[in-house]
Assembly symmetry: C2
Homo-oligomer: 124 residues x 2
DNA sequence: ATAACCGTATTAAGATGCATAGTACAGATA
DNA sequence: TATCTGTACTATGCATCTTAATACGGTTAT
């Protein structure tokens, strides 16, 4: 479920945050289902509980999960987050077009890649 | 010409590298023209010469500039680098499409943003 | 020649962020 | 009551970034 890439220069807790965001937004983890406990996940990944704690705190701050003292951490409702994610992707696209224009990438070259990308078959 | 953003969490030398890459790729700095000296630029930006040195070393490693002992640092020929940059942008576009598909952004939504981005007037 | 400028190298110190280790407290549950 | 949960705190080690000071080799203008 969670894999740490030690070649990645980003901190471990950030990798964990991003991975859970992905699992949550894609619906792999359902709302109100329980996450692995801080200590368990730390054990499983062979890292320190404090690092997991830091990741969970960040996920809670961003609204992806909620934690209950003594009970555990749980997946939050994600409708709003999914919508936000889509907007971020479209913003990124807009930014990329801006960059493309600055460096002389033509509309044709660009749209060709887009069309091609959407044309591909689904492998999963 | 060069501005350091201390709110940016990336290291200073990296900001300098990126800024010069931009100026070089966009042709603001012409081939074989001289860059500010390590000590002068450090003075101007109120930072340590070693930090500039680190940025220049990285720029040289990447082929953006070349340095000559006792003379100075100079802009390299950039044709190859510009081509590479365009390819990177198209790769990024391809990656973004992949992401968009994963999160259910439709082809229509996506292309609308692209078209709109290319439609805009040039402000510079 | 010599002073003033260039790039380059080295060593030492401080600051910061990340991760670990250990301990402790509060609440839930079997 | 024992064991699980989240949470908090301090201390330590480590890597990276930045600064500081000094030094060396090469170029250039006076």
């Amino acid at each position: 479920m969670i894999v740490i890439d030690y070649k990645d220069r980003r901190p471990i807790y950030e990798q964990i945050v991003e991975r859970f965001q992905e699992l949550i937004l894609k619906g792999v983890l359902e709302a109100d289902s329980q996450l692995p406990s801080v200590r368990n996940l730390a054990m499983e990944l062979s890292i320190n509980p404090n690092t997991i704690q830091k990741a969970y705190s960040e996920l809670e701050r961003q609204g992806y999960i909620y934690s209950v003292m003594g009970k555990g951490s749980f997946i939050a409702v994600t409708d709003r987050l999914i919508k936000k994610k889509k907007e971020e992707i479209l913003d990124a696209a807009s930014q990329l077009v801006k960059l493309a224009k600055e460096y002389g990438v033509t509309k044709d070259e660009f749209t060709r890649v887009i069309i091609e990308g959407f044309k591909e078959e689904y492998d999963d």
